[in-house]
C-alpha cells in the first residue's frame, strides 16, 4: 500500500464522520430549539419560505451521504454506486465552499451553520479552507478500490497516524473547536460578571477601610454607586472639620478579600483632602438595613441632587 493510497483510504471514514456530525448537530438543534438552523449558514441566502425546507433537505443529504460513504466503502456497491456517492459528496462540499464565499460577502455576520448552532461565528478563511479541504478529500476518493483492513500492525499505525494528522488539521480549521474548548473551562471575567451592589456594600462594610473612616460618614445610604469594569465606586456624604465632604470607596469586584481604595474629597470642589489623624469608628446597622439602603438608591444616580463640579466636561449642547 502506497502512502497516497493510504491517505485516500482514510478520507472515507473521515468524510462520513464530518457529514454525520453536521447532520446530528442539525437534528439536535431541531429537537432542542425547534429550528432547523435555517437562519444560519447558506440557507440564509434564500427567501424566507425556502429556508426551512432547504435546511431539512441539507440535513437529510448529509446524513444520506454519510451512510452511503460507509456502506460503499467496502466490496458492497463498489465501482459505480460508490463513485456516485463520492462524487455527490465532492459536489456537496464544492457547492458548500462556493455558498460560503457568497455568504461571507453578502451576510458577513452569519455563521456557516455547518454544525447547526455550534457554528455561529461568522464565516472566515478557516471555515472556507475546511470546506475546500473536504471537497478535495472527497475528490481523492473517486475511483478508489474497496477499503480493506490493514494486514500488518505497522500499516494500521500508519493509517491511524494519517487520520490523526488530518483530524488535527480539520480541528485547526474549525472555529467550533475553539469555542467548545472555551465553554469547557470557562470562568467569566470580572468585567462581565454581574455583581449585586448589595454584595459590594456588604464586602465594603467588612473592610478595614470602612472601620477606619466610617466615623466621618453622615448617611447610611450611599450618595452614588457606579461601576466601571471590575471596580464599583461607592460615595458616602461625610463631614470633616465642619465642611461637607465625601468619602469615596473603590471596591474591586471579587469574592474574597477585595482590594479597597478610599479617598476623602471636598463636596463642592471634588478636590482630595488629607485624612484626619486617628481612627474614626462607629456602629452601623446590619445586613437588613444595608439591603434596604441599597434598594433605596435610585436606579440611576439622581442627577438633580448632584452638586456642580468644576470639571472638564465632555458634553456639549452647542449644536
Amino acid at each position: 500500500m502506497t502512502m497516497l493510497h493510504a491517505i485516500r483510504e482514510v478520507q472515507i471514514p473521515l468524510l462520513a464522520a464530518m457529514l454525520f456530525g453536521g447532520c446530528a448537530a442539525k437534528v439536535l438543534q431541531m429537537i432542542r430549539a425547534g429550528s432547523a438552523g435555517e437562519h444560519i449558514g447558506p440557507t440564509a441566502l434564500f427567501p424566507m419560505h425556502l429556508r426551512r425546507p432547504l435546511a431539512i433537505v441539507l440535513c437529510l443529504v448529509e446524513g444520506g451521504l454519510g451512510v452511503g460513504l460507509l456502506l460503499t466503502a467496502g466490496r458492497f456497491g463498489r465501482n459505480n454506486p460508490a463513485d456516485g456517492i463520492r462524487l455527490a459528496s465532492c459536489l456537496l462540499f464544492v457547492v458548500a465552499t462556493c455558498a460560503l464565499i457568497e455568504l461571507r460577502q453578502s451576510r458577513p455576520d452569519v455563521g456557516c451553520g455547518c454544525f447547526g448552532d455550534f457554528s455561529t461565528s461568522p464565516v472566515n478563511s478557516r471555515t472556507l479552507a475546511r470546506s475546500a479541504l473536504l471537497a478535495i478529500a472527497s475528490l481523492s476518493t473517486i475511483m478508489l478500490r474497496p477499503i480493506t483492513w490493514p494486514r500488518t500492525t505497522a500499516g494500521a499505525l500508519g493509517l491511524l497516524a494519517i487520520l490523526g494528522a488530518e483530524v488535527l488539521l480539520i480541528g485547526v480549521l474549525s472555529p467550533e473547536v475553539g469555542e467548545g474548548l472555551i465553554r469547557l473551562g470557562y470562568t467569566e471575567p470580572c468585567e462581565l460578571r454581574n455583581v449585586p451592589a448589595a454584595r459590594t456594600l456588604a464586602v465594603l462594610r467588612r473592610s478595614k477601610h470602612w472601620r477606619r473612616y466610617s466615623g466621618l460618614i453622615t448617611s447610611e445610604v450611599p450618595e452614588d454607586v457606579w461601576r466601571e469594569l471590575c471596580w464599583r465606586f461607592v460615595v458616602y456624604p461625610a463631614r470633616y472639620q465642619d465642611r461637607q465632604t465625601d468619602v469615596v470607596f473603590a471596591v474591586f469586584l471579587q469574592h474574597r478579600r477585595p482590594v479597597v481604595h478610599v479617598a476623602l474629597v471636598d463636596s463642592s470642589t471634588g478636590a482630595p483632602l488629607e485624612w484626619p489623624a486617628g481612627k474614626q469608628r462607629t456602629r452601623w446597622p446590619g445586613r437588613a438595613a444595608l439591603l434596604g439602603a441599597t434598594r433605596s438608591l435610585s436606579p440611576a444616580f439622581n442627577a438633580a441632587e448632584a452638586r456642580p463640579a468644576p470639571a472638564d466636561l465632555p458634553l456639549s449642547t452647542d449644536l
Binding site: 437562519h39 427567501p47 424566507m48 458577513p108 455576520d109 452569519v110 448552532d117 455561529t120 461565528s121 469555542e179 472555551i182 465553554r183 470562568t187 471575567p189 462581565l192 454581574n194 449585586p196 451592589a197 477606619r212 473612616y213 452614588d224 454607586v225 457606579w226 461601576r227 466601571e228 469594569l229 471590575c230 465606586f233 460615595v235 469615596v248 470607596f249 474591586f252 482590594v259 479597597v260 481604595h261 478610599v262 479617598a263 474629597v265 471634588g270 478636590a271 482630595p272 488629607e274 485624612w275 440611576a300 444616580f301 442627577a303 448632584a306 452638586r307 456642580p308 463640579a309 468644576p310 470639571a311 472638564d312 466636561l313 465632555p314 458634553l315 456639549s316 449642547t317 452647542d318 449644536l319
Partner: protein, 374 residues
C-alpha cells in the same frame, strides 16, 4: 469659548445652565437633563481620579492605581482632560431658512446662522443632491469644515433613523419599539425602497429587528436605506452570546452606529453603551426586559469615558457614556463601511459624536475601536 479644561471636541456644556453654543438645535429641549448628565459625568470622573491618586498623594487607604491593576492614565486624571481634537468636524442643526449654491442660512427659533458652502459641499435628502436643491423648512444637520467655523461641507436634510423591534406590520407601515422611554416609531416603506431594504432586512415581521435610515415626515420615517443588516433571529430568541475567556481586552473593535436625539440635546457629545451595569438599570430597557443582549461587553456606568476611534478615517475622540442602548445590544450585525467589523455594535453615538468622528450619517455605521479606561 475654549476654557482651560478642554473637553472632547472643545464643546463644553455649561454647568450652570448658561447657554453658550452656536445652538441651532432647540436649546430648551433636554437641557436640564444634559446639565444633570454633565454634572454626573464630571463628578464621577473627579471622584474616580481622587480615589486612584498616585501612591505619593494617596491617603492611608490608597495603594495607587498601579496596584489596582489600572494603567496610570486609567485613573482619569482631571488635569489630563479629554483629547484635543480641535480638528475634528463639528456639526450644527437647524431649520433651513434659505439656501443658495454658496450660502446656507439655518435658523433655530429667533436666531439665524449663515454658512458658506464649499464647492465640494453635497447634501443628502433621501439621496445625494446639490445643496441648492434643498427646500426651505427642511430640518438640516450641517457638518462644518474642520478649519472654518462657518463653512459647511456636508448637509443632511430631514434624516432620521429607527432602530428597534417590529411590533406590528400593517401594509407598508411598520410599528417599531425602540425602548421603554421612547415612543413607538412608524416606518413607511415605499415600493421603490422596499426592495433595497429587504436585501438587508428580509424579514419585516413582528418580533424581528429593524434598523432603517430615511426621511422624517412629522411622526413617521419614510424608510430609504437599510442601516445595517438584519440579525437572522427574532429579538426574543437571541442566540447564546460567544464566551470570552481570560481578561477582557481594553480595546474592542466593532461597529459604531448613531441614533436620533429624541430625549437628549442634539449637540450632546456622548455615546450610548450596550452594557451598563445591570444594578443601575438601563432606563431605556425594552418593555420586554431583555437585560442581556448578544453583545458581551465589560460593564460600565454613565460617566465612564471611552476613546472611540473611527477605523475608517483614523479619527478618535474621548467620549463619555451618556446612555445605554438596549436595542443595540440585541444586534449581532457587522459594519462593512471599511472591511467587515469583527463584532457587532460596541457604541451607539449621538449625532454630534458620529459626525465629529467622521461618520457619514446615511451609511449608518463605521468600523470602530473603543478603548475603555483611558
Amino acid at each position: 469659548m475654549r476654557g482651560a479644561h478642554i473637553a472632547c471636541c472643545d464643546r463644553c456644556a455649561s454647568l450652570t445652565g448658561s447657554s453658550r453654543g452656536t445652538a441651532a438645535s432647540s436649546p430648551d429641549h433636554g437641557s436640564a437633563g444634559a446639565t444633570a448628565s454633565a454634572t454626573m459625568v464630571a463628578r464621577r470622573r473627579l471622584l474616580k481620579a481622587a480615589v486612584f491618586r498616585p501612591q505619593a498623594e494617596a491617603g492611608p487607604g490608597g495603594n495607587g492605581a498601579d496596584a489596582a491593576g489600572l494603567a496610570p492614565d486609567d485613573t482619569g486624571s482631571q488635569t489630563s482632560g479629554f483629547a484635543n481634537i480641535f480638528q475634528l468636524p463639528r456639526s450644527v442643526a437647524g431649520t433651513i431658512l434659505d439656501v443658495s449654491p454658496h450660502v446656507l442660512i439655518l435658523g433655530d427659533g429667533s436666531r439665524e446662522q449663515r454658512f458658506a458652502l464649499t464647492p465640494e459641499a453635497v447634501a443628502w435628502c433621501g439621496g445625494q443632491l446639490e445643496p441648492a436643491a434643498l427646500i426651505q423648512g427642511d430640518r438640516a444637520i450641517v457638518r462644518l469644515h474642520p478649519f472654518g467655523r462657518n463653512v459647511a461641507d456636508r448637509i443632511w436634510a430631514n434624516i432620521g433613523r429607527v432602530t428597534g423591534v417590529i411590533t406590528e406590520r400593517s401594509g407598508n407601515q411598520l410599528l417599531v419599539d425602540e425602548g421603554a422611554t421612547r415612543e413607538t416609531q412608524v416606518i413607511t416603506l415605499r415600493p421603490r425602497s422596499l426592495g433595497r431594504i429587504q436585501v438587508r432586512f428580509p424579514t419585516l415581521e413582528p418580533g424581528y429587528l429593524v434598523d432603517i435610515i430615511g426621511i422624517r415626515r412629522r411622526d413617521e420615517l419614510i424608510g430609504m436605506i437599510p442601516a445595517t443588516s438584519q440579525p437572522a433571529y427574532p429579538a426574543q430568541r437571541l442566540p447564546a452570546p460567544p464566551l470570552i475567556s481570560g481578561h477582557v481586552p481594553n480595546s474592542i473593535t466593532g461597529s459604531a452606529t448613531w441614533h436620533e436625539p429624541r430625549d437628549e440635546p442634539a449637540g450632546i457629545l456622548g455615546v450610548s453603551y450596550p452594557a451598563l451595569d445591570p444594578e443601575t438599570g438601563c432606563a431605556e430597557d425594552l418593555a420586554g426586559g431583555m437585560r442581556q443582549g448578544y453583545s458581551r461587553m465589560p460593564f460600565l456606568a454613565i460617566g465612564s469615558v471611552l476613546r472611540v476611534r473611527n477605523d475608517c478615517t483614523g479619527s478618535s475622540c474621548r467620549i463619555p457614556v451618556t446612555g445605554c442602548t438596549p436595542v443595540g445590544r440585541l444586534f449581532n450585525d457587522r459594519c462593512v463601511t471599511c472591511g467587515t467589523s469583527p463584532r457587532g455594535r460596541v457604541a451607539d453615538l449621538t449625532l454630534a459624536s458620529f459626525i465629529a468622528l467622521g461618520g457619514e450619517l446615511e451609511r449608518g455605521c463605521f468600523n470602530a475601536t473603543i478603548t475603555i479606561g483611558e
